[in-house]
Symmetry: D2
Subunit: 183 residues, 4 copies
């Protein structure tokens, strides 16, 4: 059965966004993309700032989220799954801050949809390389990349893993696209 949903998980500055853009270019069918960044953009500004029910990025790059954030994110996940059920192909660009528990949240949104074929992709990047890339971007709180590099993968089960430490985004995207075509 053809894959209709690809969920990429990786830490900040691991290179997920570039892989997603390449994937959209590589895959012949049109795929939509959503992710934690677009979700956060959809929130009221106050929840992206000092509001403790929203999302807070500490000076050391640590990220914490509140009750309202989690409730809205759960509804958002259900909406994304509904788009896929309605026929859209979707690539998700996510950061599993809770590791296996975050994957479990997606599984819950997918429901009994053992019928809905998802490709789980881990996007790895050496902690030091990700930290250097974070510095090079210049628009991120220093420390996020290192803090998230390993934690987000703890206990997560993948169909495929790519590593951007020494591989360009395009090559990673091609590996993922090959996997999609094979199925």
């Amino acid at each position: 059965m053809a894959i209709q949903m690809i969920i990429l998980n990786g830490g900040s500055s691991s290179g997920k966004s570039r892989i997603v853009r390449c994937l959209q270019a590589e895959l012949p069918d049109p795929w939509l993309t959503f992710g934690c960044d677009s979700f956060v953009d959809s929130l009221p500004a106050r929840m992206r700032e000092a509001d403790d029910d929203g999302i807070v990025i500490a000076a050391d790059g640590g990220v914490s989220v509140g009750e309202d954030f989690l409730a809205l994110e759960a509804a958002w996940r259900e909406g994304i799954v509904a788009m896929v059920r309605a026929g859209a192909r979707v690539v998700i660009d996510d950061v599993f801050l809770g590791g296996a528990a975050s994957q479990q949240r997606w599984r819950k949104a997918l429901g009994e949809a053992a019928d809905l074929p998802v490709l789980w992709v881990g996007v790895r990047c050496d902690s030091a390389v990700a930290a250097d890339r974070e510095a090079a971007r210049g628009d991120r709180v220093p420390g996020m990349a290192a803090a998230q590099a390993d934690v987000v993968h703890e206990g997560v089960v993948y169909d495929l893993e790519v590593d951007t430490s020494h591989t360009e985004s395009v090559a990673c995207a091609r590996a993922i696209a090959a996997h999609v075509h094979r199925r």
Copy 2:
């Protein structure tokens, strides 16, 4: 029954985005926002360019969309409605290029959900004022504002209309918020 979804419709440069940001600030509960801009951002880059199954903005500001675009947009609409059913409050920032037909597409996605209380808001702006604002933004194809100013409202039925020609976004947002609270 409390309103859970607000659908704003207005032409390019009519001031919808500013109203949405103000609304999110004015409303005490957290509301997510999505719209045609965020939908277009989720598409593969090639569909935002010269691809005739995507979206094309002509040199005169005319906008045309293809089959793939319409199919994905329909699935996206169903996903948004599913988010609302899952408990999220959502403000939509849309441009009804098809006028009444576009409203009908949202009604179809809402389904028999006469149960799901939606507030339909028309965002009007004098064609000349919108064209001037379009010029002032500097990042839009000249002509879109004037081309869309009236067409997008043809045959559309609203619960509330605001006019940004001589009223600031904050005042428009407050009028909408008052309507939400009243219900």
Copy 3:
């Protein structure tokens, strides 16, 4: 003698950027534009954050700048004036945090260039209107608009003043362009 430099001064969210884009569109000759935003973008990221020799925006919207910032800004001003002397027409989009003292800094950079014809433009906006627009933008620290609305104009001498409280950016730009042509 033809005007070669236009210096706009106004508080945050007074609408200067929109006026500048309109001015560039209205004026038949090509004018370059620079300003405090593009200057700040040219700084090392650390000077836009917590560095006390850079620029700090407090939680209440107050802005303070350090020694390094002032020294670099002085050199930047001299460079801009040199561009004008080399033949470029330039529109400056500035916020005179020091009021008359800030104007004096530009005069110093202009040197004895009583020969270099500058048009000084004050961009006024009612404090409450600017605060509402600041909220509508959603990407500014609340309080900057109100804090700066009047202070930036204290003791400053203008050739022309515009008020965006009830006038669209395009109309303000046209008034300025008319002044440029007249000379």
Copy 4:
């Protein structure tokens, strides 16, 4: 004599911007940065579009510039050099579309300033790697990277060259910073 100006030259998607941000972070003194992107942003919108006296990017990624563009760019270069003379340290992020002729234009702006110590840095990137990165960015006209990869270096003389094909931006920046300190 201490270096006060660093001029980086490389093709589109060769990784110059990331190197510049890293350099600003690595160097203990505050360095300003300007470049062809910030120059183009300062132009009237019409010169970034179909205006043949401005800058035009063809469908195949070819870039051509007109008379007005060249005249304004020459004045801009003189202004940048004046900033350096006034005491600012400046990193330039440029694309020498004309190869050696472009370097000559900077030398002309620097004048007899054999006194003004400049570090010329070539930023190389394999054409295929740059093309892949261009695709991954998703916001560039495909073809620019490949078209510029070699042409921009033709006949240009450097103090230092870095290659981003297999080296991270941070490492390249450190090599440049080491060179600055040594002098």
